[in-house]
Amino acid sequence: MTKQFAENLMIDGVDHRLNSFPLDRWLAKSRHAPHFTAPHTALWRGYRANWEIRDQRLYLVGITGFAADNPTEDDSAALGEYMESPALHLPDLFPEYPERVFAHWYSGDLCIPLGDPALPPTGYKMFDVYKGVITRQWIKENET
């Protein structure tokens, strides 16, 4: 199985791989959410989002998604042969909040794998999120 692109989470100016998908809850709940399609086998969910934790809150600060609806020839040409769908970015999804979006719809965990990305994680940095607010953080040791 092809390894999937992770999400990106910035904490204190440092980028981390994120193995959680906070946008999925909004995609499932909102009737205004677009339907994404996989541009290639390493991105079956059809989008890749950038997140940031700032002041103990989770924000969506960027996204590149590939819409399943109405691909156009212009988009296909611009995005290359593997990307046959139009790319969507944050202003397309949230026109009134083009810079950052408070992810108040998300409750669950954020899971950051630790260690060399080429190797199995040595552990995970975990965050609990409740309605977009970070409520707890801890380190989870890899049990294997």
Binding site: S30, F102, H104, W105, D109, Y130
Partner: protein, 180 residues
């Protein structure tokens, strides 16, 4: 010899069940008595294949989803205005509307509710395809959940800060549902 008779008798019973007892997914054209006799004859010999096919079909059928908000998950009644005040994000990066970016969905939910309607805040662990923790608001009519609006849906665990602090084992959840 007895085994052979038993085998053939099981075949006849299977044939009768297939022809008369099995629920049909779609109407089948009328058949003659000869068709039915031929079917029974074939099934007399090949009934294990028929039984295997039916068992395999049942095995592959998706299990019914048990995700169900129940009266046992209700915590406290709240008015719509209380809920809307509580659920309005206090962040410049989200609309200052009830449920923020999910305001259209909330308006859909409450559109035919009276302004003074009372909803119940609920929380609890459920079994969907996976165990999950949910929170939200439900309309309760005649001691039954009529419909609900979910605000938290977590398959990871119960996040810190949630209304209910521990994810009960699924057995307990099922017991609660049966008792309600």
């Amino acid at each position: 010899m007895i085994v052979l008779y038993a085998y053939l008798a099981a075949g006849i019973l299977t044939g009768l069940w297939v022809i008369y007892g099995m629920p049909k997914k779609e109407p089948i054209p009328p058949s003659t008595i000869l068709d039915k006799l031929a079917a029974i004859l074939v099934l007399m010999l090949l009934w294990p294949v028929c039984v295997w096919a039916e068992l395999e079909s049942r095995r592959q059928r998706p299990k019914p989803v048990e995700y169900q908000i129940d009266i046992s998950h209700m915590l406290r009644p709240l008015s719509i205005s209380e809920i809307e005040q509580k659920e309005t994000p206090d962040d410049p990066s989200a609309p200052a509307l009830p449920f923020g970016f999910l305001n259209p969905e909330w308006l859909d939910f409450r559109k035919d509710l009276a302004a003074d309607a009372e909803l119940w805040e609920f929380a609890g662990a459920l079994e969907d395809l996976l165990p999950c923790y949910v929170e939200g608001y439900a309309l309760v009519v005649d001691n039954r959940v009529s419909r609900y609006f979910t605000t938290v849906f977590s398959v990871d665990a119960v996040p810190a800060g949630a209304l209910v602090t521990t994810m009960p084992p699924l057995v307990e959840v099922k017991d609660n549902i049966q008792q309600a």
